[in-house]
Every structure is written in C-alpha cells, then in structure tokens.
Amino acid sequence: MIGSLATLLLFQLAGEIVVRLTGLPLPGPVLGMLLLFAALLARGSAPRVFNDTSRGLLNYLALLFVPAGVGIISHLSRVADEWVAIAVTLIASTALAMVVTAFSLRALTTGRGE
C-alpha cells in the first residue's frame, strides 16, 4: 500500500514537473493521471494492491471536495447577487451537454450489432 501511494504521488510529481517545464495548459495532477493511464495501458495490468489502493482512495473522493467547497464562504455575496443567472446557466448548459452527448453517441453506434 505504501508503494501504491508512493506511485500515485510520483505520477502527480511527474505531472507537476512536466507542466512547469513545458508550460502545458493542464493541471499537474491531470497530466499525472494521463501519464498513469498510458503506463497502465502499456503494462497491460497493474498489481492488485495498486488497483485496490487507488479504488480505496476514490471511494472517499466526495469527502476530499469538502474543504475546497467550504471556501464558498468567501464568495457568499457574489452568489447572492448572481444566483438567478448562475442557476439558469448551470441547469440549461448541463441539460444541453447531456442531450448532445447522448444523441451523438446513439447516432454513431446504432446498427453496429451492440
């Protein structure tokens, strides 16, 4: 498990370093994720303990958002001022994105013997 955590942190570190060296417009951990994805595909399979540790961490993903979310306390007046526009944009844009994605995929996969 220590080895698995170290691996995750090293991939994150590699992502952060590459982003800073190249000026890529990506968050370091996202590049770390892409690098790990490539490594997993190249390797074929990961050790079971690594998969278990990663899934274990992802099981608590929701908790990890809380400290950042509480930061909304610094923006309460902004939200109070703009909540109607925020709500309309958020709901309409989410619905649109969902419909466009679902119907594109269906149009492209029908008749493929799914």
Binding site: P27, A46, L63, I72, V88, M98, L108
Partner: protein
C-alpha cells in the same frame, strides 16, 4: 476557568479541531443521505459544505483558520485525481473497440458544456470571474479547480458550481433522456459522465452497471479534454 481558557487556546492553534470536525460532519451527512433513500438534493458534499459554512459563520472563524486543519484532506485530491486513471484503464477494451464514436460524442458534449455555459453566462450578464469559474463545471472537482486556478477564476466557487452541476445532472439526466425517447444505457451513461462527472456516474450506476461503466469513461475522458479546451476557448475569446 483558567485551565479551560488554556485548552481553548490550544484547540484554536492546532489543526486537529477542524480536521476532526470536517470528518465528523461528512460522516453524519453520509448517514443522513443513506437513511433518507439517497435523495439527490441531500448529496453529502452539499450538506457538509452548508453545515460547515454555518458552523464557521456562527463561531466567527475565518476560512484560513479552517483550511489550516482541512488542508490535510484537501491535499489528497491530487493523488486521487491521478488514481482516476485506474478505473479508466479498466475500460480500455471498450475504448479500443468504440474509440471513434466515443471520441466524436465526447468532443460534441464537451464543447457544448463549455460553450453553452460561456454563451448563456455572458448573455445573462455574469461577472467575468463568476463566468470563468463556471466554465469547467461539468468535470470532476479536482480537475475543474485546477483549470479555474489556471485561467484566473475562483477555485472554491468552482468547487461548489461543480457539485451543483453534478446534482443537477443526476436529478434531471435520466428522466430528460427518457422523455426524448432515448433508451440505450450506453448513450445514457456516457452522457451522464460527460455532463455531470462523478455525481452523475454514481446515479448512472444505480440505473445499470453498464451505464455506470460508460459514465465513468465519459467522466475521465471529459476531464482530460476540458482541461485542454477551457484554456483554449478563454484564450480565443479573450475572456
């Protein structure tokens, strides 16, 4: 009395209090969510954030003091983002088989999510920092916050907008697609993941295992694509 004051001084200075309280509040929120039949508006993240904001406001605690303790939880977002590669790699076979339709649907959905938020927010007169913070709303929080930080928005506002987007997608997604006559679990699941990240994925898994797997795939792919797309669009439109 003097001793009590000393204890309070100690508690105020250690990160222990807010770290422990964050875990307790989240645990309680999770219990509440499960007991009341996983009603989407009782999303544990949303409930925890509201409860902690109320506690901070009531005790007059500055966010910086709270974050001194809670940062230990926040730090784990980085390695957790990296760990998203694991379930994604688990979908590698499906990905190879259907890469072309998946790539096209993903691009269409991802561009729609960002461009429609940009256009609507602009039309409705959102403040530019609010607008920037809203652009990566459809992707999982760690990625969205990283993107917002990069383009000069407010990461903590993004965190809340992302959670609200996930809840919106989870509540309206399946009824909306059914209303429009879509039955295919693959298309439904993938769309939930692209538009409503992890919270949408959790909902898709309740619908069916297959929808959930594709939702996870959509969430992971859109996370990577949006991280590239948002800075590009911001640069193109000069926001």
């Amino acid at each position: 009395m003097n001793r009590l004051a000393q204890v309070w001084v100690y508690i105020e200075e250690t990160p222990l209090l807010w770290l422990a309280l964050t875990l307790c509040v989240f645990w309680l929120a999770q219990q509440l969510y499960r007991r009341l039949g996983e009603f989407p508006l009782l999303n544990p993240v949303l409930v925890s954030v509201v409860a902690l904001v109320v506690i901070l406001a009531a005790t007059g605690t500055p966010y910086e003091d709270y974050f001194d303790g809670a940062q230990f939880i926040h730090f784990l977002l980085g390695p957790a983002t990296v760990a998203l590669a694991v379930p994604l790699a688990g979908q590698a076979r499906e990905l190879r088989r259907y890469w072309r339709p998946i790539a096209i649907a993903l691009s269409a959905g991802s561009i729609t999510a960002v461009a429609s938020a940009m256009a609507l927010g602009w039309l409705l007169g959102l403040d530019s920092q609010t607008l920037l913070s809203m652009l990566p709303k459809s992707v999982t929080t760690p990625i969205a916050m990283g993107v917002t930080e990069q383009i000069g928005g407010l990461p903590s506002l993004t965190a809340v907008l992302v959670i609200l987007t996930g809840i919106t997608g989870a509540v309206i997604g399946i009824p909306l697609l059914r209303l429009l006559g879509l039955r295919d679990p693959v298309a439904k699941g993938f769309a939930m993941g692209v538009a409503a990240h992890g919270i949408g994925t959790a909902r898709a898994f309740e619908h069916s295992e297959r929808a959930g797997a594709y939702s996870g795939l959509g969430m992971g792919l859109n996370g990577a694509l949006t991280a590239l797309l948002v800075p590009l669009l911001v640069w193109l439109f000069g926001l």
